[in-house]
């Protein structure tokens, strides 16, 4: 299941941080909503924060993942 897989990848990339991965409401399965709350975002712009998340999902974006809605928060 793509949701579990992505959750697993993000958990490894952001150890100990709060991660939410779920389906995007009203969209198909390849549209996911991701929320990551991490202290690693501190001092970074939104662009860099989102890039950090998406970098971990590079392989998934090539394959099954079509679109994500990303929200990053500094913890």
């Amino acid at each position: 299941m793509i949701i579990e897989k992505i959750h697993e990848i993000l958990k490894i990339g952001f150890p100990g941080d709060h991660i939410h991965v779920g389906p995007m409401r009203g969209a198909s399965d390849d549209h996911l909503e991701i929320i990551v709350t991490s202290k690693n975002f501190e001092g970074l712009g939104l662009l860099e924060q989102h890039q950090m998340v998406m970098d971990l999902l590079k392989e998934e974006f090539k394959d099954k993942l079509h679109a994500v809605k990303i929200k990053t928060k500094v913890s």
Binding site: G26, L57, A67, K71
Partner: protein, 131 residues
């Protein structure tokens, strides 16, 4: 509003305004090297949206939402339809280290995709940028 997965700001944004604000850059441009082509497109427009479809017929909810927000803040933007240009579509993901569309560039720098634009729109920074 919450039923809408894309949080479309105002799908009924005046078409006239979008029409005035945007026009599509012809695909291909006049450069054969894809990276050079990207650089040329980005540097010759202050705001450029690489998207699926164009401002009148966006082919994806994220792209539609981004266009609507830029229209609302009266940004003067151009669009580039990546569906018509598979080579550029692949190359720009590496160029910007950004795997999804739309991609909005402002003054030759990647501003972000729909999520970032949405945050900037909601906290008022997008409007400030184009006031």
């Amino acid at each position: 509003m919450s039923e809408n997965p894309f949080n479309i700001v105002n799908p009924n944004v005046s078409e006239e305004r979008v029409e005035k604000a945007s026009s599509e850059i012809p695909t291909g441009f006049d450069e054969t090297d894809t990276v050079k082509r990207i650089e040329k497109i980005i540097s010759s427009h202050s705001v450029i949206v690489f998207m699926k479809g164009n401002a009148f017929f966006p082919q994806c909810g994220f792209s539609a939402n981004t266009i609507a927000m830029l229209g609302q803040v009266k940004a003067d933007f151009k669009t580039y339809d990546i569906l018509q240009d598979p080579e550029l579509r692949m190359a720009i993901k590496d160029y910007s280290n950004w795997p999804t569309f739309p991609q909005v560039y402002h003054n030759s720098k990647l501003l972000g995709g729909n999520d970032i634009l949405t945050e900037l729109y909601q906290n008022g920074e997008l409007a400030k940028m184009f006031s």
